[in-house]
Symmetry: C2
C-alpha cells in the first residue's frame, strides 16, 4: 500500500493556527513601484534591460520589506498588478517574493481580483495555487495560499477557485464591500428587496463557503473569505452577521482612512476571523516619519498589531 497521503489542512484552520502562532492579524501589503523602492538595495549588474533591472530591484525591495516586518505579521498580500506590469521578469520577481515569504513563515495572499467563466477561472486558480498539466509535465503556479476574486460573474466563476482551494488547503477571498470610494457605485445600489448589492454578495459568499465542496466539517472558519473595506466600518457588524464563519480581509486602514479601532465586529469568530492589511502605511512609514525605512515599517506594523490585539 502507498503511504498515507495527508490532505492539506483546511484554509480556515491554517489561518487560525497561523494567527495564533505568529500572534498577529496583520497582513503587510506589497505593491512595489520601481520608482519608489526603499533606498539601499543590492547593487545590480550594469547591463540589464529595464524590465530585468526593475524586476530585480523590486524583488530585492520586497525581500527587505518582508525581512523587516515579518516579526509583526501573519501574511503578505502581493498586488499582482505591480508585478505584471514588469512582464516576464515581473513574474520571476513575484515567484522570488512568494518563496521568501514562505521562508519567513508568512502566508501569501495574491491580490489578483480575478473573475472569469469556469474554464478560465480554473486556469486562474491553477495559476494562483495549483498547477497546470501539460504534455511536458506539470507547471507549478505562483504557490499562493489564497487569492482575491471578483464576484460580478456569479457563482460559476467562483467555484473553480473554491474547489481547487479545498484540495490544496488554500483560500479564496471574494470582493464583497471594497474600500475605495467607487465601491458605492455598484456595491451600495439598493436591490428590490431593500438590501444593498453587497449584502446579497455576502450571502452568496457564506453559501459557497458552506457547500460540501469547500466546507471542512468541524472547522471554525470557512475557506471562502471576504474582502471588506475598513473604510466602511458601519457595515461591518451587518457583514459579520451575514457571514459568521467567513475570514475577513480588511484593506483600507491608514492611507485610505480606515481605523483599526472600528473593526471589532470583524474579529468575532476568533483567531483568523479577520486580517488587517496595510500597504503604504507600513512600507512607506519611513518616508512619512523619516529615518530607516525598515525600522519605521516594523514600528508601524507592530503598532497595528497591538491595536488589533486590544480589540
Amino acid at each position: 500500500m502507498a503511504a498515507d497521503v495527508q490532505p492539506a489542512p483546511p484554509f480556515g484552520d491554517r489561518l487560525a493556527s497561523a494567527v495564533r502562532r505568529r500572534e498577529s492579524a496583520i497582513v503587510v501589503g506589497l505593491d512595489p513601484d520601481p520608482a519608489r523602492l526603499w533606498p539601499g538595495g543590492s547593487p545590480l549588474p550594469g547591463d540589464l534591460a529595464p524590465a530585468d533591472a526593475a524586476a530585480a530591484a523590486v524583488a530585492d525591495h520586497c525581500r527587505r520589506v518582508l525581512d523587516a516586518v515579518a516579526p509583526a505579521c501573519v501574511a503578505v498580500k502581493l498586488q499582482s498588478a505591480s508585478f505584471e506590469r514588469l512582464g516576464a521578469p515581473g513574474q520571476e520577481a513575484l515567484a522570488a517574493t512568494v518563496a521568501h515569504a514562505g521562508d519567513l513563515d508568512l502566508l501569501v495572499l495574491l491580490d489578483a481580483k480575478r473573475g472569469d467563466i469556469d474554464v478560465s477561472a480554473a486556469s486562474y486558480a491553477n495559476a494562483a495555487y495549483g498547477s497546470t498539466a501539460t504534455p511536458w509535465g506539470p507547471v507549478a503556479g505562483t504557490g499562493a495560499d489564497a487569492v482575491t476574486v471578483a464576484p460580478y460573474m456569479g457563482r460559476d466563476s467562483l467555484r473553480p477557485f473554491v474547489t481547487l482551494a479545498a484540495d490544496r488547503g488554500a483560500g479564496t477571498f471574494v470582493l464583497v464591500r471594497t474600500s475605495n470610494p467607487g465601491a458605492a457605485d455598484l456595491q451600495e445600489l439598493l436591490l428590490a428587496d431593500g438590501e444593498p448589492v453587497w449584502a446579497h454578495v455576502a450571502r452568496m459568499v457564506a453559501e459557497i463557503g458552506a457547500e460540501p465542496t469547500s466546507a471542512a466539517p468541524g472547522a471554525t472558519l470557512d475557506a471562502v473569505g471576504a474582502v471588506v473595506g475598513a473604510t466602511a466600518p458601519e457595515r461591518i457588524a451587518r457583514l459579520r452577521e451575514l457571514m459568521p464563519r467567513t475570514p475577513f480581509l480588511l484593506p483600507g486602514v491608514g492611507a485610505q482612512g480606515g481605523r483599526v479601532e472600528d473593526l471589532a465586529p470583524a474579529f468575532a469568530p476568533g483567531p483568523g476571523g479577520a486580517l488587517i492589511t496595510a500597504s503604504r502605511s507600513i512600507v512607506g512609514a519611513g518616508a512619512a516619519a523619516g529615518g530607516d525605512p525598515a525600522a519605521a515599517a516594523l514600528r508601524a506594523a507592530e503598532a497595528l498589531r497591538a491595536t488589533a490585539a486590544a480589540l
Copy 2:
C-alpha cells in the same frame, strides 16, 4: 521645434476602420490549453523545463491559429489566464502572440477582466497598453489595443484604464452582461428602481465613455466598450438603447449556445459597433469536424463572418 507628434486616433475610429478594412466583425479567441494544442507543431528542443516547453508550444500554436484564421477576422482576443498559468515563460508566449497578431494587422484584445483600486488599476492599464516608468528606463506593457475590465469596484476602478486608453488610442471593454449561466447571480438582480444591475452598469459605461477624458469629439463610437453575452439576446436591444455609441464585444456564440442571427441590434451603430468573439467554435472546429484544423478553423471563422455580414 520638435516635429509634430500625431496623437493616436481614438479607439472607436480605429475599430470602425479596421472592421471596414478587413470586412469582418469576427474576433478569434485564444485560450490555449497546453494539453490540447493543434497537432503538427514545430519541434522543441528536448531539454526544456515543462513551463518553457509548454509556453513555446502554446506560442507556436497561437501563431498557427492566427495564420490560419486572420483572413476572416478583425481581431484576436487573448485569454490572459491561459498564459498566466505558465508563469514567466507564459508572458513571453503572450508577447510573441501579440507581436504576431500585429504583423497580421489584427487588433489585440487582452481578455484579463481586471479591476482594482485606482493605483493598481493604473498599473494594470500600463501592463495592458501602456508602459511603466522605472529608474532603469520605461518597461513596455503587453501592447494590447484593448483590455476587458470588471465593474464591481465602480467608476474610480475603471477611470485609470479609460484615461490611459484615450492617450494611446486604446479601448476598455467593461463587463456588463456576461455570457455564463452565473451571470444571473448578480447581474440580473433587480434594483429598487425596477431595473436589473446590468442596466445600471450599462448606464455607467455610457456615461464614462462620454466623459471628456475618454470621448473623442466627432467619433461615432466611444472608446469604452461593453462585454455583452450573446447567450442573452433578449437583452441586447435594451443594452444598445442604454449604450448607443458603445462598441459591444459579444462572447458566447457557438460552444456556449449563442446564435449570431439573434445579435442584429448590437450592430446598429455600424462598422465596429459590435464584435463577435468565438474561441472553441473556431479553434476547435477541426476536432469537431475532422480534418485539417487550420482549414476547419478558417471555414468556421468565414461562416461566422458571412452570417454577421448578413445581419
